[in-house]
Subunit: 276 residues, 2 copies
């Protein structure tokens, strides 16, 4: 798997040291990213991911150095060079090199080709435990590189056999560290509309669910989550993953719910046929 | 000025590209830093800076790869190679290279030699304007690399001819983007004790002020700041810098205060003799 990466116009081996040390992403945490993958060799919902990436860049006032069309050409090259049927792409845009370590001069754009994620396939079947964690992401609409709490809590999650954190504050839930949260209450499918990243998988699930459930997109209370009939989380790597325990509290009987499994099947059918 | 940098045991030219792209500082904002300088060729309050760096590392659960004594040797080498009488050093410790982009394996330690800061010498004389900004730094005791709001607001500060942001929330002030805040009310010198970085210059000023003023280290209200007799900020690069305007509101007559100037003189005397 000879993976490569794109950096400001050049294609380089994935292991190459390419960042100078006065990059604002490194020194000041001034960076954003995005992440998506192919199914059947075709990037999934590419237009949606690109639009989100553009939106994050706009909100951090960073100018994208290349167009969507030019980027497509880069992705095709990186994909071909990998020799793999399926790959994931990680875009990273930082504030670039700053002589004064404060002001943006010219952003740095990195596109990494990465092997396909294997994010907890067991969790997708059986459901996962998450730990409640009092926190709201700063500037949540931006897919920024700030994941300090996730990395900081990695050991504690392992210790408690939890797969993720559930962010909540003032009685309201927002999201997991890298994924959105949904609950079922009867036939109602509910997901939060504030302090969340606009997940592309979240968007796809809302589209797929429309014909089958009553949908509410609105603030979600913590107590609604722990007493929900079903809870699940969505992301590019998690797809539709049941959440069956929050801290010490099982959700209902602690098993993946039937409506969740139904949505998971709809999603899996969609990606099975993607690009065909 | 042939400046160099230390990276995980090697000494390299300052401009060299040395970071691989799966560093957790870059991808996840998982990093911390520290920054100090020499006076008369001698690092200022080195023990204090080292202890703070150690404390930040401990709070982010990162193991420092070298001891204080080994680091002193590196600093001496970098200083000698620079050919300069005075230099600044920037330490950066990140979560290191992560195959899974989540878990820390081995931190990366970078020490950059940098030219002496020229942080607004005019402001030190005349005082600066700051913009009130509703925000509290996440994990404030850690000197993390998260300075997103500072970089994001850089243009707006220029537009409003302001030198910095004053962070406040729920009626309480904490700090500026990279410096602590003090106020005088009569003979009382007051500075905040929570949601702040433990500044080394702040510590030095508290030591110097002890013989001359009544000191209160406690939560500081926003309304106390705007109605204070004098306001100033302290940092490694700002020393003692009067704050004479907050948004549209001048502090008293909008001129640097006499007690502030007195403390600035005490500090300047201290650094003039440093190491002698």
């Amino acid at each position: 798997m000879p993976f490569y990466q794109y950096f400001n116009g050049d294609i380089l081996p994935i292991d190459e040291s390419i960042f100078k040390t006065n990059d604002l992403g490194l020194l000041r945490g001034y960076g954003l990213f995005d992440y998506f993958r192919t199914y059947n060799g075709v990037p999934f919902r590419w237009d949606d991911y690109w639009r989100r990436f553009e939106n994050s860049a706009r909100l951090l006032k960073l100018t994208l150095p290349i167009s969507q069309q030019e980027t497509e050409k880069v992705l095709a090259d990186l994909h071909a060079m990998s020799g793999e049927q399926e790959v994931a792409f990680r875009f990273v845009l930082t504030g670039g090199y700053a002589p004064d370590s404060v002001n943006v001069v010219q952003p740095n754009l990195l596109i990494r080709t990465e092997p396909l994620p294997q994010d907890n396939p067991a969790g997708r079947l059986k459901g996962i435990k998450v730990l409640p964690y009092e926190y709201v992401r700063d500037l949540p609409e931006i897919k920024s590189t700030n994941y300090v709490h996730m990395v900081l809590m990695a050991d504690e999650m392992r210790r408690q056999q939890a797969a993720d954190l559930l962010f909540h504050k003032d009685g309201e839930v927002s999201e997991l560290t890298r994924s959105n949260i949904f609950i079922f209450r009867g036939n109602k499918l509910i997901t939060s509309d504030r302090n969340v990243l606009n997940g592309i998988t979240r968007k796809v699930i809302l589209e797929l669910a429309q014909a089958h459930f009553q949908i509410e997109v609105r603030p979600v209370l913590y107590k609604e989550v722990v007493t929900a009939d079903e809870v699940f989380t969505t992301s590019t790597t998690k797809w539709v993953m049941p959440v069956v325990q929050i801290g010490d509290l099982p959700i209902q009987n602690g098993l993946a719910g039937t409506s969740t499994l139904f949505l998971r099947e709809l999603f899996e059918n969609l990606i099975a046929d993607w690009g065909k």
